[in-house]
Amino acid sequence: MKHSEYINTLDVALLRSLLKPYPTLKKSCLLISAILVMGCADFVEVQPPKNTLVSETVFNDAATVESALANLYYDMREQGMVSGAFGLTTAMGIYSDELDYYGFSADYVQLFQHNVLPGNGAVLEWWRQAYHLIYGANDIIKGVDGTDGLTTVEKNSFKGQALFIRAYLHSLLVSVFGDVPYVETTDYLKTNTVVRTDVDEVNDLIIADLEAALVLLEGTAPVSDERIYPDQNVVKALLARMHLYIGYWEEAAAMATELIDDFPLESDLNQVFLKGSQETIWQLKADNESPKNTREAEQLIIQSVPGQTYALTNDLLNAFEADDLRRDQWVNGISDMDNTVTYYYAHKYKAGINENEALEYSILFRSAEQMLIRAEARIRLGDIVGAQSDLNAIRNRAGLANTMASTQNEILDAIINERRFELFTEQGHRWFDLKRLGKADEILGQFKPNWKATDVRLPIPESELDTNPNLLPQNPGY
């Protein structure tokens, strides 16, 4: 140390004497030395750009968390399984017996013809999109926990919504793929090598998340009166559905009951799918620019023949009872120029691409489903009268007489059958019913020439098995 100090003083003296005759040099040297000593670390640090926010900042402010949530609703509406151009409504419609496919997408032809390859792009997109949203939900769950910038009420509301979305997306994944990873963290080191979770466990985790959400959303004021955000009622609706799927009949009936009175059925079938429908529990608000209405209408309504992409199957059309008003009011037909051929399409949503006014939103939960959930749960529990009454509520609204079914089995079949006509072309209900009731083999086996028993599960996307071999083995049949 002494040595260095010595050199230092010596040098300073030397330097001074050297620099005297060179005033310019002195200045420039000082400049250089100033630069050298200053250190450069500060210079090369930059603020994030204006269009980018660091996670930390996002969760310090309620407005930005709302924006992060808005991303989830926006994406559900536009992409992936929930809605959008490639949602379950059309894809599972052609995979089951609801829709015929006339389009040219190779991925969709595979679905329609039941020769889905593990590399199917549509299936991969569902998988990707679902987990991308689950990351978003998880980041919100983690982010609001670790911040001081939000009130408890805000935290509860945000976390409740995020938990619901996580549960909802997993419920769709498990229905389509069987065992899937239940992802609850954002740490990529973990999620990159995650293993698949058993279906039963996934269901338990979904219910656990929903129950947590139910508590968190207790008493939160609605963000909007348009029923376009998930609130406690929406959580209950999914809980009722999950309980029914798993076979917890009492819980399913109880949950549905909590909703049915608050969301009475619309008496007019033409009112059911309007944005102000009283039986809607949750809907995704349409884009305020284009299209102002639903993606469902955009896809399902046939504009011209030829030119159709999807049309209702004759099987479905012929199965309607003669006086069923739904066959009139929820189905429409269009013929080619010479009237040689007519195709029929779902006309639940009526506001097509040429409609400039916002009339309809994409409905994800409505009380007619809850009514049928309760009917099914009741009949399983042996409550014949209750089940009949729920079933008749749906039938009567459609202009049909009370059901003739009287035994437990008959009534169960009648309810399942009723679901087909009430819920057709809505988020793949028909497919999920066939699958959960073990009827896919029997019904689709006749209807689809390529049907194989292993088709009840879609393949885990091939590229995902490559990137994360922990997901192996592939679902049987692929």
Binding site: F43, Y188, S463, T467
Partner: protein
């Protein structure tokens, strides 16, 4: 007691300065006082051996700072004593020392320097080095060659001229871009752009184009280098090896391109006017099917798909209008119609230069207008103003050079490149205009290609490049210098899409369809680089030290938005008239960069040279703790021809062995990539702006590294009339920044991180220059450059499980493609067949794409000859490349689809037993058997695309001088005139079915100087 880091660095600093300054003191003490003898004025004329006056010759009184420069008529004037010696020097001539011996008039004749090396000085960026003594690999091209090429972009002028530099034009449209690779692709992540430095200022070469606006017309790539007028360039140097590039540290990995613009010369004011006109045409057309062939194949395809009966049903005519509704006898050569025109480029340039010994200036303005080969009145206009002022103080200690260049470009093009339509429109497609001259929609059965002329693409860019270089010679050994630069590049472009350009059958209106997409972008950067340079010559030992620092900041902004819902199409170009405004992206970026660099050059006996360079870099593109990196190189040269062994008269006139090794890096990976971020996506839900997660936090994010090794032998024979430079290099790039593929369960597709992958580029470069004949009336010289590159992926841990698994293979280059192996058409079924690599009976998986083809050139180069006979000069440059490329099967392998195809698809399988190269026709309808898409992705879609191209030919006639001082040259230049190739696609240089190939151009021009 701990030393604080500041304390110790200060110690180092003082030690450093101490070493630096000691010699100054020494000199000051020994410098004696001399008495200058009385001065007289000496005048005279400098001429060449032919007696023609030589302007711009440096005349210096030996061992003083006094100097003058000869005027254009060769006269000079200098103050000197009677006993001194005058030194006359100018590039291209041998220097001459003439003792004054009391004379007042001294006329001299300078001898042209046969030895081509002469005193050629190369710009190495922070320093200059003579061609003879360089330790690194620097390729150069000077104004005399650049001027002879009728091109609008400096990169075009470099094509075929430089070894190790592979340049390909991406489109034949004016204002488009170029791909450039210096010694191959180093990084898996793609970016191959070298660092461009214009007069000392780094110039961002990345396009600011937005694909939503310009994607369909010039591929979204708008080369900012278009702003630099090739005629303004004095020289372009390409730094290639570690010795030359390490001083650029983290930005030098892909090489460095230095562009130096012209400066004024002392002498009487000189005017230089340049006028030229260029005609351009597409040089190659495809052989497509005619109407008869097309319809035959089309009908067959539809029938093969099982729709033969529907084809006869008029109710379905709508499905196949080309077959059923359109005139089956009509034929239009759409290539001729859409890309068969002639483009014109008119160029006018005027420059004024002059000055005295102390101050020189050059001001130059140019205007250029270029049209396209498309129909319509699309054109590209460029106006450019440049000035350069050079001044030095009386005692020549203080020097300042200021250069400012401003360019305005206006590019008005159709919104789509018509090329793909030209190749694919049905030969019997309806006429473009109806009898009234309106766009014909043929009862709404087709998309009229010329309707897009109603649409507009327009881009305006303004580029300012300014630079000041200030230096002060503190003593004769020490110089302080600072380089300060500022660049401002603005791009405003829009794409207007009126409803009138769409088929009326679609029912679109200005309200529901017409839209305008705009892109307003700007990149501004400044740089300050103070430096100290100390030089000292002892007897036989020369030491040259340089130390400097860089501060640089670059900001980028881009706003891309769309206006929708216009009251009428007339208001379409006014964004304010839109009912809805949608912002696609509003981005900004900031890049800060700071560095310390230095160089130590030791030259022993002009024979042994050691060059050490180094740089410590800091960049804002990396996370905390990873921001700084060190780079450095060592270069050695031994000029063995100076050893006694080689006497004066020996055959070998010059011989040098040199080698270098060092490291550089690349931070060419975009800003802010290490942060976990949310971004505004431009969408909303219920009016709430959407914030989308876009990145996972990743602090493990650092430089890419690139180690370069080079060995070279430079030989000169017959007094340097034959020069051969041979270099071998090996570049190894590691710590590659690649998107590591993530499982979707992470929420993201990939994460960018440093991956343990090594890419190796090796190669051999040969540069040959000969002066074949040099006589009074006739000169002939030849240049040849040849590059034999080789590349391979040496290591890539976890390649198998990465997204690159299907793209790369260990031991293979990065430029490979993996394909199906085509086995021809099955004579029984008429379907394409392929090798089933994984034996699963299906051809659909990545595992079946195991056939490897490399699309990088095997070798490439240029062969040039320059001949001059009297006043006539001819330059011819051939460019050659041995390579493979996608052929036309890549974009169509099935006959029978709607849309025309190359005629080779006509030779198809028709019935069992046929042995044909093309499968049976298919209309592409559901249910039809069609493996064309696999064929497109097979080795059948690759063919040899080697070529020899007459890249440039230039004939210049120097009109005999009518009066002294007036020079006039007339020239005829051709670009891309002739190509020898077996390739059958559009252009072997740029094999694409959607972009206009490079044009064949002929230029006639005149240059007048007085």
């Amino acid at each position: 007691m701990k030393k604080s880091p500041i304390y110790s660095s200060r110690t180092k600093l003082f030690l450093f300065l101490y070493i630096l300054l000691i010699p100054l003191l020494h000199q000051k003490l020994v410098a004696g006082v001399t008495f200058d003898p009385p001065q007289t004025t000496i005048t005279g004329t400098v001429t060449d051996m032919d007696g023609l006056p030589l302007g711009g010759v440096n005349v210096v009184l030996e061992s003083t700072n006094q100097g003058a420069i000869s005027d254009m008529d060769g006269t000079y004037r200098i103050e000197a004593g009677p006993n001194g010696t005058l030194v006359f020097s100018i590039v291209g001539f041998k220097s001459l020392n003439v003792p004054i011996e009391g004379r007042n008039v001294i006329d001299v004749q300078l001898e042209e320097d046969v030895t081509q090396l002469g005193e050629v000085v190369l710009n190495a960026g922070y320093y200059t080095v003579s061609e003879k003594e360089r330790t690194g690999n620097i390729s150069t091209i000077k104004a005399d060659i650049i001027e002879k090429q009728p091109v609008a972009n400096p990169l075009a002028a470099m094509q075929g001229q430089l070894s190790g530099v592979n340049i390909a034009q991406t489109t034949g449209l004016p204002g488009g871009g170029f791909n450039i690779e210096v010694r191959g692709r180093n990084f898996i992540n793609g970016a191959t752009d070298p660092l461009f430095i214009v007069d000392g200022v780094p110039f961002g070469s990345q396009s600011l184009g937005a694909s939503r606006v310009s994607g369909q017309i010039i591929g979204g790539s708008i080369s900012p280098l278009n702003a630099i007028n090739p005629n303004d360039i004095e020289s372009i140097e390409v730094l290639k090896d570690a010795d030359a590039t390490a001083i650029y540290g983290s930005r030098g990995a892909n090489g460095v391109v230095l562009i130096t613009t012209k400066k004024g010369r002392a002498g009487k004011t000189r005017f230089d006017a340049h006028l030229s006109t260029t005609l351009g045409k597409v040089s190659r057309f495809l052989d497509l099917m005619d109407t008869e062939q097309y319809l035959e194949v089309r009908r067959e395809g539809i029938t093969n798909d099982g729709y033969g009966d529907l084809l006869e049903d008029p109710g379905f005519d709508f499905f196949w209008p080309d077959v059923k509704l359109w005139d089956n006898n009509r034929y239009t050569d759409w290539q001729k119609e859409l890309i068969g025109g002639t483009s014109y480029r008119n160029n006018a340039q005027l420059s004024v230069s002059g000055g005295n010994d102390l101050t020189q200036f050059l001001i130059s303005g140019s205007y250029q207008k270029e049209t396209t080969v498309f129909p319509g009145d699309s054109n590209y206009q460029k106006a450019n103003l440049r000035s350069n002022i050079n001044h030095q103080s009386e005692n020549a200690r203080f020097k300042i050079n200021l250069s400012i260049g401003y360019t305005n470009e206006n590019n008005k093009m159709p919104t789509v490149d018509f090329t793909s339509k030209a190749y694919s429109l049905e030969p019997n497609a309806p006429r473009i205009y109806d009898d009234e001259g309106n766009i014909n929609w043929e009862n709404n059965t087709w998309d009229n290609p010329l309707a897009s002329l109603e649409e507009t693409y327009k881009s305006t860019s303004n580029t300012l490049i300014s630079n000041a270089l200030v230096s002060y010679e503190v003593t004769s050994n020490l110089e302080f210098r600072s380089n300060m630069g500022f660049t401002d590049y603005r791009l405003d472009s829009y794409r207007a899409m009126p409803s009138s350009a769409r088929n009326p059958g679609l029912g679109v209106t200005p309200q529901n369809y017409s839209h305008l997409i705009t892109n307003a972008s700007q990149r501004v950067s400044w740089i300050v680089e103070p430096q100290l340079n100390w030089r000292k010559d002892w007897n036989g030992v020369a030491l040259d030290l340089l130390v400097g620092t860089t501060f640089q900041e670059e900001t980028m902004e881009q706003l891309v938005q769309r206006g929708l819902g216009f009251p009428n199409n007339g208001l379409l170009e006014n964004l304010a008239a839109a009912e809805n405004l949608q912002v696609f992206s509003d981005t900004d970026g900031k890049y800060k960069y700071n560095a310390l660099f230095g160089r130590i050059n030791v030259n022993l006996l002009n024979r042994y040279i050691l060059n050490l360079t180094g740089r410590r870099d800091g960049s804002s593109r990396f996370g905390p703790g990873k921001q700084f990196g060190n780079f450095g190189a060592v270069g050695l040269a031994w000029i063995f021809s100076k050893e006694r062994l080689f006497s004066e008269g020996s055959l070998l006139s010059f011989g040098k062995l040199r080698a270098s090794y060092g490291s550089t890096g690349s931070d060419n990976i975009g800003d802010y990539r290490f942060l976990d971020t949310y971004q505004v996506s431009g969408n909303n839900y219920n009016g709430v702006t959407v914030l989308e997660p876009t990145g996972i936090y990743n602090p493990r994010f650092s430089w890419e590294e690139n180690n370069k090794l080079e060995a070279a032998l430079e030989l000169g024979f017959f007094k340097d009339r034959l020069l051969v430079n041979t270099s071998w290099y090996r570049n190894r790039s590691s710590n590659q920044l690649v998107g590591i593929p993530l499982a979707a369960t992470t929420g993201f597709a990939e994460l960018t991180g440093n991956f343990d992958a090594v890419v190796e580029n090796t190669g051999l470069e040969v540069d040959l220059r000969t002066v074949n004949i040099q006589s009074k009336g006739f000169n002939w010289s030849t240049t040849l450059n040849l590059t034999v590159p080789k590349s391979k992926l040496v290591a890539f841990d976890g390649l198998k499980n990465s997204t690159f698994a299907n793209r790369y293979s260990i031991g293979q280059p990065l430029t490979i493609v993996k394909l199906y192996h085509a086995l021809g058409v099955d004579p029984e079924t008429g379907a394409y067949t392929f090798e089933d690599y994984n034996g699963d009976g299906d051809i659909n998986r990545a595992e079946d794409r195991q056939w490897i083809e490399d699309l990088a050139p095997k070798f490439y180069g240029g062969f040039g000859n320059s001949l001059s006979l009297g006043n006539l000069t001819m330059d011819v440059l051939f460019q050659f490349k041995k390579q493979k490329a996608y052929n036309t099967l890549r974009f169509d392998a099935t006959p029978g689809y709607k849309g025309n195809t190359p005629a080779e698809l006509y030779n198809r399988w028709e019935e069992p037993g046929d042995v044909k190269p093309i499968q049976r026709a298919s209309g592409g309808l559901a249910g039809g058997e069609d493996l064309g898409s696999l064929q497109e992705d097979s080795n059948a879609s690759i063919s040899d695309a080697s070529f020899v191209r007459l890249r440039n030919i230039s004939l210049t006639y120097k009109v005999p001088s009518m009066r002294p001082g007036l020079d006039m040259k007339v020239y005829l230049q051709g670009q891309n005139l002739w190509t020898l190739t077996n390739y059958e696609g559009p252009d072997p240089e740029q094999p694409s079915s959607t972009r206009l190939p490079p044009l064949r151009q002929i230029t006639l021009g005149v240059q007048i100087s007085f």
